[in-house]
């Protein structure tokens, strides 16, 4: 039931430091007054930057505005503050499902369902994503990277056998979304394709090394400490650049519509694979 917005607005006006902004923001959102809801949520976050419910509210509003990348970050922040936050698990589960990442969607939705077993809608969502009611007979996975876990469980396969020539063997995007270069910009592995399918690996390789050098220089001059990554959000593709080792640069690219958190996760996994490959070949 949508709460009375006038009453909530009056309460909020009387005491702007109270937590009534959470109820007011949600009521406005449910009424479709998304801009007003956003304003209330941002004011609340300004006052309570470490409140998981405030990040959850903000993320729901961002989802209404189709800003899924930022919504993912906000739910991720909520989970860092409160690992058992039901709304954040539901939200991240929804975003993973939307992105076609079924296993990770299921992981988060099942955690949410275990925290709120009376939510029938959530149970139905788990069954829909999991392929039926039998999903409840399956044990909960221990950790969210299910692709790695399932690859390991599948036993020896071409993907599990290290390919000395290919650092990203068996990884999604290993030939068109991941690029590893040395300090001179020479391609060591992977490849990059433009959205129109053109192979742009060699063109991007030289610039990749130069861009990571520039990022390292910027971090040093601005005293940002060790730099973790540079993300570049383009109109069609987004890329995450990092250095798996002091002499190499890695670019991981994804559709811009996918959550930013998913891109950095993808890049981190690729960096691990690149480090393991470098240890083997050097």
């Amino acid at each position: 039931m949508i709460e009375d917005i006038r009453t909530l607005s009056a309460q909020y006006a009387a005491d702007p430091a109270s937590l009534v902004f959470l109820r007011l923001g949600e009521a406005l959102r449910q009424r479709g007054q998304v801009d007003a809801a956003l304003k209330v949520a941002l004011q609340g976050l300004g006052r309570y930057p470490h409140l998981p419910d405030a990040h959850d509210l903000y993320a729901r509003i961002l989802t209404d505005r189709h800003d899924y990348a930022t919504a993912f970050d906000e739910w991720d922040t909520a989970l860092r503050h409160a690992p058992h936050h039901i709304g954040a698990h539901k939200g991240i589960g929804f975003l993973y499902y939307r992105a076609g990442e079924r296993e990770q969607a299921l992981y988060h939705l099942r955690i949410a369902a275990s925290l709120d077993p009376d939510d029938l809608g959530l149970r139905h969502a788990v069954e829909r994503v999991g392929g039926g009611a039998e999903i409840w007979d399956m044990p909960m996975p221990d950790a969210p990277p299910p692709r790695e876990a399932s690859a390991a469980a599948a036993g020896p396969s071409s993907a599990a056998v290290p390919n000395p020539a290919d650092p990203f063997a068996g990884m999604d995007g290993g030939h068109d979304r991941l690029l590893l270069v040395d300090a001179d910009g020479l391609r060591l592995g992977g490849g990059l394709a433009a959205p129109d399918g053109r192979n742009v690996s060699d063109e991007a390789a030289a610039l990749l090394a130069a861009t990571t050098r520039e990022a390292a220089r910027a971090a040093r001059l601005l005293e940002l400490g060790g730099w973790a990554h540079l993300t570049l959000e383009g109109e069609a593709l987004s890329a995450c650049l990092l250095m798996p080792s002091p002499e190499t640069s890695l670019l991981a690219a994804m559709d811009t519509a996918l959550p930013a958190g998913q891109l950095t996760y993808f890049a981190d996994r690729a960096a691990k694979a690149a480090r393991a490959w470098l240890e083997r070949v050097q």
């Binding site: 300004g46 930057p49 959205p195 053109r198 610039l207 861009t211 971090a219 540079l230």
Partner: protein, 115 residues
């Protein structure tokens, strides 16, 4: 025009953890307008932000990413954020533990008004 930019930048630096925000010319890396905390050198931040944006524009072009909308350089102790436009870029420096999602949204909104 500069006073209009100033109001936009002041709005950004009011956000928690933002140490400085600038409008920068992409062509030469010079400051067009700035709102920075004491101790932070606006000129240096502008030059660094513009150089990094230039590299990103070039990489985006070669990689077919489309026009870059936002750059985020994350370090252990803070982040450099750049929203490049056509001739100008919005550059911000944030401290540690700043919610980047919110700042990104505000910067993209502000950058739209840069034209």
């Amino acid at each position: 025009m500069t006073s209009q930019f100033q109001a936009m930048l002041d709005g950004l630096t009011r956000l928690r953890g933002v140490r400085g925000a600038l409008v920068v010319s992409l062509e030469d890396g010079l400051v067009v307008a700035e709102s920075v905390m004491g101790g932070l050198k606006g000129g240096a931040l502008a030059a660094i932000g513009a150089t990094l944006a230039g590299r990103a524009v070039e990489l985006s072009g070669r990689g077919g990413f489309g026009r870059p909308r936002f750059l985020h350089l994350q370090g252990d102790d803070g982040a450099l954020l750049v929203a490049p436009g056509h001739d100008l870029a919005l550059v911000a420096l944030a401290g540690r533990d700043v919610p980047i999602g919110m700042l990104r949204l505000e910067m993209l909104r502000t950058a739209e008004r840069l034209g």
